[in-house]
């Protein structure tokens, strides 16, 4: 295996651990966006450009937006 693959695999492993151990959901959203970017690099290294494009748009645009909107709703609401 070439060193690029080794480095990327290690980064993805660390990224997954970082996402899970960030307890505050707001911070975790940012970390999840970065984790998605590292996954994109892994997918490109595994010669899958279509999947990399999908993951790029999904994890940098759609996913953080939905999570942030849900968090804004949770923060906003006064308890009945």
């Amino acid at each position: 295996m070439i060193p690029l693959q080794l480095v990327t695999i290690a980064l993805v492993g660390l990224g997954g651990l970082a996402v899970v151990t960030s307890r505050d959901p707001l911070r975790q959203t940012i970390v999840a966006g970065l984790y998605g970017l590292v996954l994109v690099v892994l997918f490109v290294v595994l010669q899958a450009p279509d999947v990399a494009l999908s993951e790029l748009v999904a994890s940098t645009v759609a996913f953080p937006f939905i999570v942030l909107a849900a968090l804004a709703k949770l923060r906003d609401r006064r308890r009945e």
Binding site: M1, Y35, L39, Q47, P49, V51, L53, F63, V67, A70
Partner: protein, 115 residues
Amino acid sequence: MTLLPYLLAAWLFLVGLYGVVTSRHLVHLVICLSVMQSATYVLLLAIGYRSGKKAPIFTAGVPVKVGAVDPVVQALTLTDVVVSVTGVALLLALVVEIWKRAGTVDPDRLRRKES
């Protein structure tokens, strides 16, 4: 060493599962679920990879004889990535409804609120 990408998939799955089990906030739980989902993507793509081959795109100028990695696993993964975003949206809509009804999003406290 040849098993490393598969072990990465197993690692991501177990780490995500640990996050789900020890979660204190339902949104954190949903994001850990998405980490578990990414483990399946990594596993699929790692299975279909062939050393030294290129991506399965043969636009003009790229010789076909070089060979390419498996396109079927990529096809399975790419629709799944986009569809999982909508699955996460559905889960988050459920979380918002729970917040409206129970006033809390802590899974431990939710369990004890059952009457």
